[in-house]
C-alpha cells in the first residue's frame, strides 16, 4: 500500500470540508442533548452519546462491508455525505418529534419501548452520514490520513463551541437549521474542486439547502414539547398567554400569564392559610416548572401566604436575619424573606434568562422585589456561589429544592447543591447561631426526606456539629417538608417556636429536639408515622442498618454520586415492579427506569446495525488464520470500547459539578476527550511501525491510564472544591488539562491493537472493530447506570480495570511474526 499508488494528498478545501462536517456532527450531539431536554426530559441526555456512537458504529460497519465498492471520488463523496447530513440533521429530529413516544407510559406498556428504539435509530442517521463521509475520506487517503485526521479533530473541537454559540444566537428550535447550513457549506466546499458535471450537480443542491435552512422554510423549527410537561399543560388552560420566551445554552425559559385562571403555585400551603394566594406569573425552564413571580406592590407587606408554607419556619426562629436564598430568581423566596423580617437578602439564580425576565418584564408586577435596596441578586450557579462566598456570614441559607419533579422524572438530574460537600460549605457560611433550611417534596413512602437527612448528618459529622438531634428541626405538610439545621443546638425557646409554628398551620413535626413519638403524625395522618420513624432511626445508633435495609436508596448524596432523587435499589426491583399495577406505580421513578431501558435498546440497536452487517461480510471472506485467539481478541476490543466510554462519561459527570452545568460539562468533556484521544491515536500510529509490535504497545498506555486513574481518584474531591469557586475560564482550562493526559493515553490502545490484529488475522479486523463499536454504545448507557448506584469514581476505577483486562486479553490474541506494521486507520467509534 505504501508508495506510488496513493492518490494525491487532500487539498485544503477538502480538509476544510472535513473540519466543517466534523464540527457539525459534534455540534449535533450537543444540540440534541439540549433539544431533547426541552421536548422530553433531562434523562435523555445520556442517550445522545449512545446514539451518536450507534451512528458511527453503523457507518464503520457499512464502510467495511461496502466501502471498497464505492466508486465516487473522495471530494464528491464527502460533499454528498455533508449535504445528506445538512438535510438529515434537522429532518430526523423533526421526524423523531412526531414519534408518539411517551416515556410516562413506560410502566404501563411496551409501546414506548418500541418507539424509543425508533427515535434512537432516527437520530443516529445524521451521525451515520457524517461518519461515513469523514471515514471514507480517511480511508481513501490511507497513509497520508494524518492531515485529514487533524482536520477532523480540529473541527470536532470547534463544533462543541459552535453549538454553544448557536444556542446563544438562535432560538432553540432553529439551531439545527443553523447546523445544517454549516454542513451544507461543508458540502459546497468539498464540491468546488469536483469535475464539471458533478460540481454543479452538487453545488446547486447545496445552495438550495442553504437557502432553505437559513430562511427556515422547512418549517421544522417547531419544538413539540411533550404534552405532559408543565408548560404545555399550563398553555392549554383557558386564558393562558405565553408572554415571553428566551432560549440560551442553559435552557429555554418561558413566561406564562393567565388573567382568567391565575397561577396559584403554593406547594405545601397550610390548610389553615388565612391569606389568599395572589396572582402569579409562571416561568418554565425547558418546559418544566413552574417557578412563580407573585404579584406584589412595592412598599406593601409581602403576601401573607408565604408565611403559611413550611419553608417559612426559619423566619420564626431568627431576628432580622441576613439571608442567602438559593434559586430565588422568581422572587418568591426573597419576598418570603423580606416578609419574615430579613435585613438583607443575597439571592442567587442559576438561570440568566429567568432572572432577566423577572427583573425586566415583571419588575413592576413583582413590586421590584429583586431590585430592592436590601436585596442583591447574583446570576450564577448557587453551588459555585456558596463555595466562593468564603468569609461571608449568613444567619440563614435557604434552599428551594421544589424545582425538581416530585415523581421521579428528574431522578437522574445531578443535584449539585445538596451533596454532603455542598452542605458542608453551606454550614460553613453560617453565623454561630445560623440556620440552613432545605424545602423539598415529601413523597410517600418517604425517600427524598430521609436521604436529605442522611446527607445532612454526614455533613454535620464532617463539620463537627453534634449531637445531631439537638441541631435539627424537621416539619412537613402533606406534600412538602422543610428541614432546618442549626449550627448551635436549638434552644428551648426555639423548640417552642417550631412547635407553635407547626401547630398553627396544621403541619406535622417530624423531628424537634426532645420530641416524643406520639407528637408525630397528628395532622396529615398516614398509616404509620413514617417520617418521624425514619428520622428517629437515622438519628439513632442503627443508622447504617436502617439505610441498608430501607427499600429505597437513601445513602447520602455526594459530589461523586449527586443523584439525590434516584432511589431505585435493584434488591427490591422485582417487588416494586410487581406492584406497579396494584397502585404502586408511584414507587417507580420513570427518570430512572429510562436508563435500563436505554441500555437494553442500545444493545439491540448496536447488534442490529453494527454486528449484523459484518455477519454478511464474514460469509464472503476467506477462512481465518490459525493461531489467533479469537475470543481473547474480541474480549479485548470489547473491553476497550466499554472502558473508553465509561471513563469519558464519568469525567463528564464529575465536570457537571465543577463546571456548574451539564451542558458545559458535555461540551468541554466531549471536545477534550475527542481531541486528545485523537492526538493519542495519532501518536500511537506514528510509533507503531517502527516500535515493537509486541504486547507492550497496549500494556503501556493501559498502565498509564491505571496510574492516572489512581491519582485522579485521590485528588478529585479536593480539586472539585478548589475549582468550584474559580472563574469559568480557569475551570474550563483545568478540566481540559485533567482530560489531556488520560485521553491521550486512551487514544493509543485501539489503533495499536487493531494494527496488530491486522497482521495476525485480517479477517477478524471488522469484528474487532464492530465489537468495539457495540461496546462503546453500551458503555455510554452503562456508565450512567453504574454512576447512579456507585458514583463516578467507581466508574473511573472500573474503566481503569477494564483497560488492564483489555491489555491482558489483547496480549494473548497471538504472536505476530516480525514484519512491518501497517495501518493507522482510525475508527471514529474509539474517539467519541
Amino acid at each position: 500500500m505504501n508508495g506510488g499508488g496513493s492518490p494525491p494528498g487532500p487539498g485544503f478545501l477538502l480538509l476544510a470540508a472535513v473540519a466543517l462536517l466534523s464540527a457539525a456532527a459534534l455540534g449535533y450531539e450537543v444540540l440534541l442533548t439540549r433539544l431533547l431536554a426541552i421536548v422530553q426530559w433531562h434523562h435523555f441526555a445520556f442517550l445522545v452519546i449512545s446514539t451518536a456512537l450507534l451512528g458511527f458504529g453503523a457507518s464503520g460497519a457499512f464502510l467495511m462491508v461496502a466501502g471498497s465498492r464505492i466508486r465516487i471520488p473522495p471530494g464528491p463523496f464527502l460533499a454528498l455525505a455533508a449535504l445528506a447530513f445538512a438535510l438529515a440533521a434537522p429532518a430526523c429530529f423533526a421526524l423523531a418529534q412526531r414519534v408518539p413516544f411517551n416515556v410516562l407510559e413506560l410502566p404501563w406498556s411496551l409501546r414506548p419501548f418500541g418507539w424509543l428504539l425508533v427515535i434512537e435509530v432516527l437520530l443516529a442517521i445524521p451521525f451515520f452520514l457524517a461518519a461515513t463521509g469523514i471515514g471514507r475520506t480517511l480511508i481513501v487517503f490511507g497513509d497520508r490520513l494524518s492531515r485529514v485526521y487533524a482536520a477532523d479533530l480540529v473541527g470536532a473541537g470547534a463544533g462543541a463551541a459552535i453549538a454553544v454559540g448557536l444556542l446563544y444566537w438562535l432560538p432553540a428550535g432553529r439551531t439545527l437549521d443553523g447546523l445544517g447550513a454549516m454542513a451544507a457549506l461543508a458540502g459546497a466546499t468539498a464540491a468546488v474542486r469536483a469535475p464539471r458535471p458533478a460540481r454543479w450537480g452538487l453545488l446547486a443542491p447545496a445552495a438550495g439547502l442553504l437557502a432553505l435552512l437559513l430562511t427556515g422554510a422547512t418549517g421544522w423549527s417547531e419544538l413539540r414539547v411533550s404534552p405532559f410537561k408543565p408548560l404545555p399543560q399550563a398553555l392549554r388552560v383557558i386564558g393562558a398567554t405565553l408572554t415571553e420566551s428566551r432560549s440560551g445554552p442553559l435552557g429555554l425559559v418561558s413566561a406564562v400569564e393567565n388573567e382568567t385562571v391565575p397561577f396559584r403555585w403554593a406547594p405545601g400551603l397550610s390548610l389553615l392559610a388565612r391569606a389568599p394566594v395572589p396572582e402569579q406569573v409562571a416561568l418554565f425552564v425547558d418546559g418544566g416548572g413552574p417557578i412563580v413571580i407573585p404579584r406584589h406592590r412595592a412598599g406593601a407587606a409581602p403576601p401573607g401566604y408565604l408565611d403559611d408554607l413550611t419553608s417559612a419556619l426559619p423566619y420564626h426562629l431568627l431576628e432580622r436575619p441576613r439571608v442567602l436564598a438559593l434559586r430565588a430568581g422568581g422572587g418568591a423566596p426573597v419576598l418570603q424573606a423580606l416578609g419574615g423580617g430579613a435585613r438583607a437578602v443575597d439571592a442567587v439564580e442559576p438561570q440568566p434568562d429567568l432572572a432577566a425576565i423577572a427583573r425586566s418584564r415583571y419588575r413592576s408586577f413583582s413590586g421590584g422585589v429583586l431590585t430592592d435596596p436590601a436585596v442583591r441578586l447574583y446570576v450564577g450557579d448557587p453551588r459555585a456561589f456558596v463555595e466562593a462566598a468564603r468569609g461571608e456570614e449568613y444567619d440563614l441559607v435557604q434552599v428551594d429544592a421544589l424545582g425538581a419533579s416530585p415523581s421521579g422524572l428528574d431522578a437522574l438530574k445531578a443535584e449539585r447543591l445538596l451533596t454532603v460537600e455542598s452542605m458542608r460549605a453551606m454550614l460553613a457560611r453560617l453565623a454561630p447561631r445560623g440556620l440552613l433550611a432545605v424545602t423539598g417534596w415529601s413523597q410517600l413512602p418517604p425517600r427524598g426526606g430521609p436521604r436529605l437527612l442522611a446527607t445532612l448528618l454526614d455533613a454535620f459529622a464532617a463539620e463537627g456539629i453534634g449531637p445531631a438531634a439537638e441541631h435539627l428541626a424537621w416539619i412537613r405538610s402533606w406534600n412538602t417538608s422543610t428541614l432546618v439545621a442549626s449550627r448551635a443546638p436549638f434552644s428551648a425557646a426555639e423548640i417552642a417556636a417550631v412547635r407553635s409554628f407547626a401547630r398553627d398551620r396544621a403541619f406535622d413535626l417530624v423531628h424537634v429536639p426532645g420530641m416524643e413519638a406520639h407528637e408525630a403524625n397528628r395532622f396529615n395522618v398516614m398509616e404509620r408515622p413514617w417520617f418521624h420513624e425514619a428520622a428517629a432511626r437515622l438519628l439513632g445508633p442503627e443508622r447504617a442498618d436502617f439505610v441498608r435495609d430501607y427499600k429505597f436508596d437513601i445513602r447520602p448524596a455526594t459530589d461523586d454520586r449527586p443523584y439525590l432523587r434516584s432511589f431505585f435499589k435493584w434488591a427490591h426491583a422485582f417487588e416494586i415492579l410487581a406492584l406497579r399495577r396494584a397502585g404502586g406505580v408511584g414507587l417507580l421513578a420513570i427518570g430512572y427506569l429510562a436508563l435500563p431501558v436505554a441500555l437494553i435498546e442500545a444493545a439491540i440497536a448496536s447488534a442490529a446495525l453494527i454486528l449484523l452487517p459484518l455477519l454478511l461480510v464474514r460469509r464472503r471472506s476467506g477462512a481465518r488464520k490459525e493461531g489467533t485467539r479469537r475470543g481473547a481478541a474480541l474480549a479485548g476490543f470489547f473491553s476497550l470500547g466499554l472502558a473508553f466510554l465509561m471513563m469519558e462519561i464519568a469525567f463528564i459527570g464529575r465536570f457537571t459539578v465543577i463546571l456548574s452545568h451539564p451542558l458545559y460539562a458535555l461540551v468541554v468533556g466531549l471536545a477534550a476527550f475527542l481531541v486528545f484521544a485523537g492526538l493519542g491515536s495519532w501518536l500511537a500510529g506514528r510509533r507503531g511501525p517502527g516500535g515493537s509490535p509486541g504486547g507492550g504497545s497496549v500494556a503501556w498506555p493501559a498502565a498509564g491510564i491505571g496510574a492516572l486513574a489512581v491519582v485522579y481518584l485521590a485528588a478529585l474531591p479536593d480539586l472539585t472544591s478548589a475549582l468550584l469557586g474559580a472563574a469559568p475560564g480557569v475551570k474550563i482550562a483545568a478540566a481540559t488539562a485533567l482530560v489531556a493526559p488520560i485521553a491521550t493515553l486512551m487514544g493509543m490502545p485501539f489503533p495499536r491493537a487493531l494494527a496488530r490484529l491486522r497482521q495476525l488475522d485480517p479477517v477478524l479486523v471488522p469484528w474487532a472493530w464492530g465489537t468495539n463499536g457495540c461496546a462503546s454504545v453500551l458503555g455510554a448507557a452503562l456508565a450512567t447506570l453504574l454512576a447512579v448506584h456507585h458514583g463516578q469514581t467507581f466508574v473511573i476505577g472500573c474503566a481503569a480495570l477494564l483497560y488492564g483486562a483489555a491489555a491482558v486479553a489483547l496480549s494473548r490474541m497471538g504472536r505476530v511474526p516480525r514484519q512491518d506494521g501497517g495501518g493507522r486507520r482510525q475508527s471514529l467509534s474509539s474517539e467519541v
Partner: protein, 272 residues
C-alpha cells in the same frame, strides 16, 4: 339512522347555544355553564356497540379492581370496594371516554391518555377514590377536573346530582356533549377554574379534585358540608402516588389523611 342524526343535531345545538368563545373576565365564579347538551338525545349509544367481549373485558377490569383492593387493604383500610361503586363501574362504558384509537385498552387496569396532555385514572384508583367518598344518593358532589368525564359518569351512577368543572376548553366541550349523550343528564358540566369551587351549589358532601393541585384550595374546603369528604389523587399524569383525604367534621374541624394506594412497607423486616 334517524337517531344518529338527531344526536348530531342536539350536539350541534348544544355547541351553538353555548359558544365557548372569549372567556368573560369577571372575578367569581370563574366558570361558564355549558349545559345539558342533549336532554333529547339520551340514547345510550354505547349499549348498542358494547357486545359480549366488552362486557367480558369490563368484568375483567372489575376483577382486577377487587383483587387489587383486597391486596392493598392493609394500607388503604378498604377491605373491598362498596358493591354499589362496583355496580356503577360496571355500568359506565369506559371505552366511550377514551380516544377511539385506544378504545381496546379502555378496560385495562391502567391510566390512559385522553388527549390535550390529560389522562384518565387507573380504574382501581377511580374505584378507591369513589369508595372513599362514601356516597349516598342524596349527596351533592363536585368534581374539579372533568377530563374525559369518566369519573363524573361513575359519580352520576351513584348520586342524584353531580357538578364538574374543567379548565381546558376542548375537554370541557367534549364532556358536555358526551355525558348527556350517554344518558348522564344529572351531570352539570362547566368550563372554568375549579379552584373556587361552585359556590352557588355549595355545600357539597363530596368533592373530588382530579386536577393537579399544589395545595388544597381553601375555597373548596370552605364549600365542604359538615361530615363532607374531599379527595385528591396526588402524583403525576400516569402515576398516582397517594390519595389525600380531607374530612370536615360536624364541628367544622378539618382532618387530613394520606392514603398510600399500595401495600408497601419501605423497610425490610420493619413493622408490618
Amino acid at each position: 339512522m334517524n337517531e344518529k342524526s338527531g344526536e348530531r343535531a342536539a350536539v350541534a345545538a348544544g355547541d351553538a347555544s353555548h359558544p365557548l368563545g372569549p372567556f368573560p373576565r369577571r372575578p367569581f365564579p370563574r366558570r361558564e355553564f355549558i349545559g345539558r347538551a342533549g336532554a333529547l338525545a339520551v340514547a345510550w349509544s354505547g349499549a348498542a356497540q358494547a357486545g359480549a367481549p366488552r362486557d367480558e373485558m369490563r368484568r375483567g377490569m372489575l376483577e382486577a379492581i377487587a383483587d387489587t383492593t383486597a391486596r392493598t387493604a392493609a394500607s388503604t383500610g378498604v377491605e373491598a370496594i362498596d358493591p354499589e361503586v362496583m355496580t356503577a363501574l360496571d355500568r359506565v362504558p369506559r371505552h366511550e371516554f377514551v380516544p377511539t384509537e385506544i378504545a381496546e385498552l379502555a378496560y385495562e387496569n391502567r391510566p390512559l391518555p385522553i388527549g390535550h396532555g390529560q389522562t384518565i385514572s387507573q380504574p382501581y384508583i377511580v374505584a378507591l377514590m369513589t369508595h372513599l367518598l362514601a356516597l349516598a344518593p342524596h349527596h351533592r358532589v363536585l368534581e374539579i377536573g372533568t377530563g374525559s368525564g369518566y369519573q363524573a359518569a361513575v359519580l352520576a351512577e351513584l348520586v342524584d346530582s353531580v357538578r364538574t368543572i374543567e379548565i381546558v376548553p376542548p375537554l370541557a366541550r367534549q364532556a358536555a356533549e358526551r355525558l348527556p349523550r350517554l344518558g348522564y343528564d344529572n351531570v352539570e358540566a362547566g368550563l372554568g377554574d375549579g379552584y373556587y369551587g361552585w359556590p352557588e351549589a355549595a355545600p357539597f358532601q363530596a368533592i373530588i379534585v382530579t386536577a393537579a393541585a399544589s395545595h388544597v384550595p381553601p375555597p373548596l374546603v370552605a364549600q365542604l358540608a359538615p361530615d363532607g369528604v374531599l379527595v385528591i389523587p396526588v402524583g403525576e399524569r400516569f402515576s398516582v402516588q397517594m390519595l389525600l383525604l380531607v374530612r370536615k367534621r360536624a364541628d367544622g374541624e378539618v382532618s387530613v389523611r394520606q392514603v398510600l394506594p399500595v401495600r408497601f412497607v419501605p423497610l425490610t423486616g420493619g413493622p408490618r
